[in-house]
Point group: C2
């Protein structure tokens, strides 16, 4: 009897390990779409962002301005574009992707359409969820941020930025889509360049904005699935205007 009990326990352990293995996989495919599980990272609330540092330094004449739109054929050193960390790194635009992957361990996904699955939505603001998306020969940075723009009322802000210049970004349209409980919310826009600060995009409100109550309606078991698609602007323009 003891033998059978032990066997049963071993089988349960195996099932549990198998479950853990699947849970640990960061990327999996569901219904033909690539799903990327993205864990949250707390923002350094009181640390100055790269933008603020760059802007302050610019005022003192030390560093180039944060908001600049130089063409890629005239490369300059740009500060680290990762919105999470006040990272002292500076480098050419072409090596931003490898810096983000290697130093900040931000995943990069291939595919025309992916699903960004942000976990632990309940965590207090400020919190960020970040992923890179490689598509149409370019890399994009998706940032979902939980932030208290109005004290005591956290909101979710989602935007997509091109790791390139604004001139390059103007050739694309990104779409973020939430779909659950017979509700659907779609946001389409031209991506901003990572040469701009994600902070300014969010403070301008020029992104997908969700109140906590609406985010809860779209969330499943504390996770928010955001469908991402990127197209060239020509496709966007050919679609009907309302």
């Amino acid at each position: 009897m003891l033998f059978f009990t032990q066997c049963f326990g071993a089988v349960l352990d195996l099932i549990h390990l198998r479950f853990q293995h699947y849970k640990a996989k960061r990327v999996f495919s569901a219904a033909g779409q690539l799903v990327c599980v993205v864990n949250p990272t707390h923002s350094l609330k009181y640390a100055p962002t790269r933008c603020a540092v760059a802007q302050t330094s610019t005022e003192q004449g030390d560093l180039p301005p944060c908001h600049h739109h130089e063409a890629v054929h005239d490369p300059q050193l740009v500060p680290c574009t990762c919105p999470l960390f006040s990272c002292p790194w500076e480098g050419h635009l072409e090596v931003v992707v490898s810096h983000l992957r290697q130093t900040h361990r931000i995943n990069i996904l291939q595919g025309a359409e992916i699903v960004f699955l942000a976990t632990d939505m309940h965590l207090p603001a400020p919190t960020d969820w970040i992923i890179m998306h490689s598509c149409l020969g370019h890399q994009f940075l998706l940032v979902l941020r939980k932030q208290e723009k109005y004290k005591g009322h956290p909101q979710f802000f989602a935007t997509m930025m091109l790791i390139g210049t604004q001139t390059q970004a103007d050739n694309f349209t990104y779409r973020l889509e939430l779909n659950r409980n017979q509700r659907r919310l779609k946001w389409e826009a031209t991506p901003r360049s990572v040469l701009e600060c994600v902070d300014s995009v969010i403070s301008d409100g020029d992104c997908l904005v969700l109140n906590t109550s609406l985010a809860q309606l779209f969330a499943d078991n504390g996770s928010l699935a955001i469908g991402i698609a990127i197209t060239t602007s020509k496709v966007h323009n050919s679609e009907a205007e309302i």
Copy 2:
């Protein structure tokens, strides 16, 4: 010379009158779609809403509750569903439309797809823009509300309600779409029944929500154009889930 000056003045007057005439038209057609110009109406900020009145009275056992979902074959007297006024009217669900048209002068538009053009977006909260939409054999009430959910930070809330029961409303999907400046925002959901309070829909945040900054990005000369489409739920369900 004086004659020519007077002639020129008369022509200018005629052009001005013609412009005024077009401006005064409440409904016109643009690009094959029916466009309805909707002027704002200030909410009675400090007056109790019908819902609040009904709920308070219910607690005292005088009136039926505000949130009820009776079938239409069992008609009951319902309070006036116009969210603007604390109107003392009560009547059967079937005569709500005529009451809203005659007493509150809310326009009703026919057509599968219409454009709701809300004027004077800059007016301070609370402000409402309301229209009725007749489609697929039913009447719907579209409410756009500017409200300060967070003190000092007005937001825009848009929702569509069926002038019917929730069982009837479950057969439909409504879509609200904003499209301007290379940005597009779409909200799709099942309409709520007017037997529910619009106040509760807005406080739940279960509607299209726009921050003022985002509303300004979509606004044109102080007006916000919202494309409206209603379909049966079967169409919605057949569309791809993300």
